[in-house]
Symmetry: C2
Subunit: 429 residues, 2 copies
Amino acid sequence: MRYYIDELHKYVGETVELKGWVYNTRGSKKIKFLILRDGTGLCQCIFFNGDCEDEAFDKFPELTQETCVKVTGTVKAEPRSPGGYELSAKTFEVIATSQDYPITPKEHGVDFLMNHRHLWLRSKKQHAVMRVRSEIINAIRSFFDDRGFTCTDAPIFTPNACEGTSTLFSTKYFDDKAYLSQSGQLYMEATAAALGKVYCFGPTFRAEKSKTRRHLIEFWMVEPEVAFNDLYDNMELAEQFVEYIVQRTLKNKKHELEILERDISKLEPIKGSFPRLHYSEAAEMIKKENPDFVIGDDFGGTDETIISSQFDKPVFVHHFPTAIKAFYMKEEPEDKQFSLSCDLLATEGYGEIIGGGQREESLQVIESKIKEHDLNLDDFSWYRDLRRYGSFPHSGFGLGIERTVAWICGLNHVRETIPFPRLYGRLHP
Amino acid sequence: MRYYIDELHKYVGETVELKGWVYNTRGSKKIKFLILRDGTGLCQCIFFNGDCEDEAFDKFPELTQETCVKVTGTVKAEPRSPGGYELSAKTFEVIATSQDYPITPKEHGVDFLMNHRHLWLRSKKQHAVMRVRSEIINAIRSFFDDRGFTCTDAPIFTPNACEGTSTLFSTKYFDDKAYLSQSGQLYMEATAAALGKVYCFGPTFRAEKSKTRRHLIEFWMVEPEVAFNDLYDNMELAEQFVEYIVQRTLKNKKHELEILERDISKLEPIKGSFPRLHYSEAAEMIKKENPDFVIGDDFGGTDETIISSQFDKPVFVHHFPTAIKAFYMKEEPEDKQFSLSCDLLATEGYGEIIGGGQREESLQVIESKIKEHDLNLDDFSWYRDLRRYGSFPHSGFGLGIERTVAWICGLNHVRETIPFPRLYGRLHP
């Protein structure tokens, strides 16, 4: 029988054995407190002199931070205790010691913590982030699976670079060269033609020498693609998707968001329709506050914040200039200088969490676009086949997991949103 | 309003518009049949001369294979029809043509089909495989999420090679060198110390120049790791996990397994306890049928089949010789020449689908093992910390997704189990 801290409510009055690690201790001559963590939660174990075994009381000082321990005791309901239950402890047994644990309750610098990421993950706040991340991943899967999407994973190794090689990692692939994928989109266009509603969910890689709070070298992305969806269907899907993720996390991870001191009143309004701005409107808005902004350019982080700060919901910006978007983005038929693209900017200055749009379906147009973008037609022979054999209107988007986790958790930097972050200058641990 | 073929049962008697692709056509002067596919299923659309629009009847020959088309008609229940419903068609509109579609109903060679994988995925059998794959992925997630596991993704980029570099892909990581992960296990050991029950699920890479029906260069793996689980707990978890995946797929993807002509009577018994063989027993069994087998060696594909063919359930082989297992595998305390390792061999000769075991928790032993395996102690400094600060018994395993899909689908080769397979000599499309 295995007992976990988050299931103690089932065993009130019973004697149980808990296995875990020493989170903290304090005590006096009469009574000693051990806060035990087992991965599911924290539990206060109380050793009363005379009530517990004498030996346990005597050797209590062995319980240094992160010592692995088995504690035996009786479960008691205790509303004042974290979690609502505590253990009236009888005895304990040290499974393995821990001397001079590097992360102490005092403040540590970020670099120190990142170097000790494998241990830092044991702290309460990092637990909460990881649990929220896990919930978000689960929510993403459920959203698509429940709506009849088929998960069709895109390959990581790709033979050619679809948007230039400058930010791609490459590897020797036997006698060939392979690039590591930055996006599964082109592949999702193929599987959408096969299965209608599809998504992929996996790691993607960007070799960018940038050290911003929004960038990781290795990050996870979910990319749905839907046959016969136009730009507006796409925004509707993205809207429902983001509402679902946020509301489900609020419901299921309330405790974790409390630990993170997240102001959830900022997340509660994330439902229903999100405001939508044409690029030109958004650009005007930015120009007012940032005169240096050049209309026609892509938005920087500050520009995104200027827009998002005016709304209490995420905001779509659609119809970005064709010139700044990828070759596969369909042009607005009424005005070809704009594209049927859309980004979703999160609230509170968290920036772009979704990018997507409607894809060009004309073989002729896509071929001339490939050439205009200085890409090699041959590299896209299979992709062009999708326009050759029963081409179809279709749209999709990509949502970055780490930015979404940072936003929902209210974290200042994406580096804490993934178990082992890879950043420019950080490949360890 | 969007109508999908798998939802036609809701619209009997109503006029609907279906969008999809021409799967097949046939006809006479009086009546013409279009089999439409839309990714959710196939639907027979019947054009009756006089009943449908004259123009639709006349231009019916435009409906070449894979033409993208919108069909309008009335939904009828028809038990003899695939799916149980058909469309009494009024008219159609071609969205985009398809001339000389390369994959015809005639037989094609595997190489041809693999070169056209982006189109091959549109065929009925590949649909079924992709849907089963998606269901299995969903089942994997649900199994762990429902049991309180936290998904803690391991990094793909790793600074060092944990089992030698010979089968690792590498890439320039700015001024460093990074290897592409073959397993997230070491990282899961760290997150298990933090969160108790964890798993990672992502792509892994093996640069093996082998062309067997069981190997992919890029394959997906799920790796759970549980604090305080020993070898036997680990086998129990693996057993429940595999039962869950198989039984859920049987329940939810019956239709797809029928399309694949899978003999499901072979899958139905996959429940309850699985047989368990000590390596020595298994080795004796093999030796009887394969006299060349050297006791003490690892099993080859044929050897695995000799064992698995004797059972109608997957079979565990545990306690492999320490000498043939990785440095982190714990030795059997009673007899150190054997390790607390276990593999699970699928039925019907599908071979190993799970490998795992209990990990060594002693700092001293793990350090001497690292040296014995000619690995660099410094490369494992963070990993050794897990033994330094509150070491804990723990176990886990890895399940290969593609082999599991091949087994459940009854496919001869793993190449059809992933949307875009990467094989030795194949990086395209």
